[in-house]
Structure formats: C-alpha cells, structure tokens
Symmetry: C2
Subunit: 367 residues, 2 copies
DNA sequence: CTGTTAGCGCATTCAG
DNA sequence: CTGAATGCGCTAACAG
C-alpha cells in the first residue's frame, strides 16, 4: 500500500520539517477523508484515532497519525458537534459589563482558567449596560451553539432566555441576580459589604456620610444603597438626602459631583462611593481640592493601585477571581448534567483599610 | 463576503411570555425543518427568509417569521458554515498575553468594537508568555474554524501557522512581529518610544539612568533596551551595566530590584522602566524608600491611575485602542479577500509628562 | 416565486 | 479490530 503515491517527497525519518509534504489546494482544509486516503484506511478508522476510541491496531494508528501530521489536519468541531450525541461544541460565552474594566477582566481571566484546561474556548463580549445588546449577543452566542453562557445582566428581565435553557444551554448569571429566569447566580454580598464599609466610617466618628453611586436602576447599586441605609439606621443616624448622589455614570461626573458636594456649606466629613469608577473620580476631586487627608473615603470594589495612592484608598473589596471561578465551576457542573434546582451562590466582600477610610471627622474647611 | 448574520428578531409585541407555543422535546433545538413544518412551507423557503434572500412572497415570509418566533428558532452557524461557500464562521480568535493586564484588555475591547458591529464574535485567551500554550490555543481556535486570528505572540517562531494561512485563515500579529511567517503585524514604536523616554530624562540633566526591564528574551523588551542604548549613545553617555536590570517578571521582583539598586553606593538618579508592571513595582519601591520625589522615573506603557499617584508617573504611552482597532481592521480586510503582500503597521507612542520624569538629578541620599 | 436533490465534515449504527 | 451506510442542519445548484 505504500506505493499508492510514488511521488511522495523524500521525507527522511529525521527531518521533522513536516506538513509541507502533500500540498492541498489553497483555501481548502484537509478532512478526515483526505487523511484516510493518505493513510490508506477508511474514514472511520481516522475518526477513531482522532477521538481516542479503542479498537485500532497500533500499525494503523501510527499510519493515521503520520497522515494527520503530514496534512496538518484539524478536526472540524462544528461538524463534529452536528453529529455527536448532545451536540456539545466545547465553547462557552461570557457576557461582561465591559472587558476593559478591571473587575470584568479579572473575572474573565478566572473563567478562562477554568475553561481552557477542559478544552473549552470562551467567547467574550461587553454589554455596556445595554439591554438590547445583551439580547443580541446571547442570540449570537446561541447561534454558535455555545454549551453555556455566563452573563453579567444588563437588562432586568432574562425571561427571553427560557428557550435557551429549555434547549439545553446552561446559564449562570453573575454580579446581578437573574430575573424571571430560573438559573444559577453568583453574587457579591452587596448589602452586607456596603453596610460594613459605612459602619467603618461611623466607627471613625463620622455622622455626615455621603453616598455616591452610579446608575440607580442597577440592582447592585440599589443594594449598596440599601447597605448604606441600614448602617445609618443601626447607628441611629438620620438620612440626609442632600448627601445622596446617584447616576454618576462616569469618572468625570463623579468628580464634579464630589467637588460640588464638598464645596457646599456644612459638607459631609466622609464619602462612601458605591462603584470603582466613582471612587476614582472622587479621589481626583479630593486631590484637586487638596482635601484628600481631611475627608474620609471608603469605596466599594477594589481597583489596581488603590494602595499606592496617598492616602491609600480604603475599600470594600469584591473578589472577581472567586466569582469567575465559581461561576465557571457551576456552569460546567450544569453542562455535565447536574439538574438540581438553581442556586444563588454568594461571594463575601472584605474590608481593606488603607488610610482614606481611617480619617476622622475634620472641621469644615469651606471658604 | 461579510460576516453579516441577518437573523430575525424574536418576541411579538404584546406577548412577552413568548415561545411556549409548540413545545419541542427538551434538549432539542428547533431546526429549519421544524420551522418549515410549522409554517407549512419547504425548508428552502425558510432558508431564504433566514438569510434575507429575495424571492419570497410576503405572505409566506410572514408565515415563516411567525413560525420562527413561535419556536424561537436560531440558525446553526456551524452547520451553515459547513455548507456555505467559503465556510466562514463569523468568529475570530484573539490571543493576548494576559486579559487581566490593562494593555491587553483595552486592546481586546477595541477589537470587539470592530468585530461585533460586523456580526463577528470573538474568542479570547491568555498566553502567559507560554509558547506551547500559543500553539495549543491557535489549534483550538483553528478546530473551531475561526475566520481569522489576532495573536500577540509568545513564541519566537510562528512558522507552525503556515498551514493555517494556506487553508485561508487570516492572521495578524500584534505587539510583536510575526517570525518566520508572512503575515501582517501591528506594532508599537518600541525603539523610538523608549529612546524618547530616556532622552527626556537626559534633558532633565540625568547622567546615571538605570534600565529596568522584564523578560529579556522578548523582542519588545530587547527593542526598548535598544532605544535606551541609542539615547545614551546620542548623548555621549556611557553604558553602566551595573544599572541594567532585566528579567523582572513580576511587580515584586521589580520592587526588590529597585530597592537594591537605589541602596547601593552611587545609585542612579533616574530610572527608565520598560514595562508597566515593572513601573508599578518601582513606584512601590520609591514609596517605601520615601524617595519618590528625589528619583526620576519614566515608564514605558501607560496604566490607569498613573496620573493620580504623587508625583504622577511620566510615561511613554502606547495606544492599545489604536493597535486593536487597526489589527481588527486589517484582519477583516484580509478576510474580505485582500491578498496584497503582508505589511507591518506601526502605531506611535506618546510621551506624557506627569511629574516623576521631570525630577532633576538629586544628591545621593543613601545612608 | 417555490421546491427538490445533493453533499459540507463528521459520528453513529450496524455489518463484517 | 475494521469499514459502509446514514444523516446531523444547513445551503448551492438546479429544477419546476
């Protein structure tokens, strides 16, 4: 059978050059049939070798492997999943708020670290708090037959995903609870974390503590506000709505709001910021006002270099790595067939004192 | 051949419940045949509607669309690409050094912003400077028939990708030039940027300028070192190899190296750091030594909050957004059929003075 | 305008 | 241990 293709170039056993042997036409990928032809076996034998199935003699196995190397054959996973029972594609989709935000990118890395060792590839996309984008992208991932989806929801209603769930797609929501859809969620302890952060400020003696948050229509923002309210209530402190600012959707807005807040008569002596971009904007404002050592700040969600600022920013740190790892683990568990009732998993926060949150109440310095 | 996927939008106005009409068996997705059966037309007519092909009466079109909504049908892109001429999957792969690094994640976001509007989804993965991982992941993406690959190479030889290129996969290398493979590259002006940064320090009067870099086997690190050498040479300054530290592969290592460097007799008066994690480690070291206002620092590659440190860190900023956008544009151009000779595109750096780089040479303060 | 036939690359079922 | 036939979901090339 060796003489089938006498034009075989002198591939001496010692030249691992490989792959340049039998050139296929440009733009066409070698298929199992090509491999079978080169190895002089049937297509099915190639399939067995490729999938590590038993029942192939070592001689034929070797011939097939050589042919695969020579042609640089790659099995077409799309075609495979079309025929295979279960139709798994070994891909999952990850929908984040914005991959360029450190919270999201750390989480992404954690998901990747669970997926890749299992041979699963990850589609990633950013939602930018846009509900329509959430629908379009889940649809696009679904069209590619992702086995599972990890979603940080931008919309407040995931019922449109019911048909995906019914079709067998595993879904895990992160950061925000799934709404109107019975799937697993992995969440941060927003209320408790926020409460602990505000309580920390109260313990330093503050009584006028401002709340600065991002979009108030987001569940997490509401929960963090709830924690703020609870901490004040437990300490018997009144809520001054003049000290509550929401919808600070950018660093610049947060910065401007903080300046305005601190320049009014009888300003707060401490600020609780409910999101990392808000925290950074506020840090900028304090720096400009040269009051970073006179006004206390505790921020929700850690960020790189928070410890290197002067003073360091005290934060209620989330654990995006833990969230991503847990979400991915739960997802693969579901893909693996676990069909117990959906669960909400919770990842605790941690208060990290760094200086800014340990500043006591200072005299009013407004001009 | 665009990657456009003219999918129909679901959910009739008025019935947000949706899709519960004709229940299919659990775990099975509706196919075009199911849609055809419900609509009472042939499979091909459904195909026409789904792909927006002309030649369908409005009556039938409507019936088909209703059936699609009722069943919540999603075309199977894998199956489609199997049959379609060109076999495009409307997916691309993005291989980065580490998605949790701000340089990578910003670049990722830029790629996404070019891909998503075209209906193309993005696989992402981190390489961690591991050449074998590079090979395994390109292989995995290839098995999923990605139309194109954007790679920040971890290995120094991409010739193993030749068969992919021959098979029609578009490839663009970023950050580091492709080696032994004729494909497009999108690079930063490492030598010139680095040279400008060091020259900036020389202009402040420094004559003893240290170089701190990460893994020296990486091309970009070598180029940045080359820029350092050129700047010194042009100023007629000698190279003191005692001031050249490489292979600082972590923040901690960089920090320790900087401390050691600055505590030796006759320490450098200025530091040029060739990578962002090195820069941050060095900033930490200076903070600990309380010498952040006495030792000048210019870092290669910007990072978030560099401006908020005290003093702000002067950097030679790369433009990851421009790199990502350009790489994606070139990639889609290739996927679109452009087969002109491979080109190396270059994205310039920009020196951003923020304080740390404008410190003049100070007296030796070692104990 | 609509439908039929064939086959993409592969795994499954069943026969040797 | 090996292989031939069948069809996954879909589109291309052709009929009507």
């Amino acid at each position: 059978m060796e003489g089938q293709l006498p034009e075989t170039t002198g591939t001496q056993p010692g030249t691992p050059v490989g792959s340049a042997g039998r050139a296929l036409q440009l733009g066409r990928r070698p298929t199992m049939r090509d491999v079978a032809a080169v190895a002089g076996v049937s297509l099915k034998t190639v399939s067995r070798v490729v999938n590590g199935e038993p029942g192939v003699s070592s001689t034929l196995g070797r011939r097939v492997r050589d042919a695969i190397d020579e042609l640089d054959f790659r099995p077409n996973i799309g075609a495979r999943s079309l025929r295979r029972a279960g139709g798994r594609t070994a891909t999952v989709g990850l929908l984040l708020e914005d991959v360029s935000n450190p919270f999201s990118s750390t989480l992404q890395r954690a998901v990747e670290d669970v997926a890749i060792p299992r041979g699963v590839m990850v589609f990633t996309a950013s939602l930018d708090e846009d509900p329509q984008r959430e629908r379009e992208l889940t649809r696009a991932f679904s069209a590619r037959r992702a086995d599972g989806l990890i979603i940080a929801p931008a919309s407040d209603d995931q019922s449109y995903l019911e048909s995906e769930v019914r079709a067998g797609t595993a879904i895990v929501c992160i950061d925000r609870q799934a709404r109107r859809l019975a799937v697993d969620s992995v969440l941060t302890t927003n209320v408790d974390g926020s409460k602990a952060g505000v309580r920390h400020l109260i313990e330093q003696g503050h009584r006028r503590i401002a709340f600065l948050g991002d979009r108030h229509d987001i569940t997490t923002a509401q929960q963090r506000y709830e924690g703020y309210l609870q901490a004040l209530a437990e300490a018997g402190l009144p809520v001054d709505t003049g000290l509550v600012l929401s919808d600070l959707t950018s660093q610049a807005l947060a910065q401007a709001a903080a300046v305005q807040l601190l320049e009014q008569p009888d300003p707060p002596t401490a600020l609780f910021t409910a999101q990392n971009l808000v925290t950074i904007g506020v840090a900028r404002a304090l720096r400009h006002l040269k009051r970073e050592r006179r006004v206390a700040v505790v921020g929700f969600d850690d960020f790189p270099l928070a410890d290197l600022l002067d003073p360091g920013i005290t934060v209620v740190a989330q654990d995006p790595t833990a969230i991503g790892r847990l979400a991915a683990t739960v997802l693969f568990d579901r893909i693996g067939g676990n069909d117990s009732p959906p669960t909400t998993h919770v990842v605790p926060t941690r208060l990290i004192p760094r200086g800014s949150g340990e500043i006591g109440p200072q005299k009013n310095l407004t001009a």
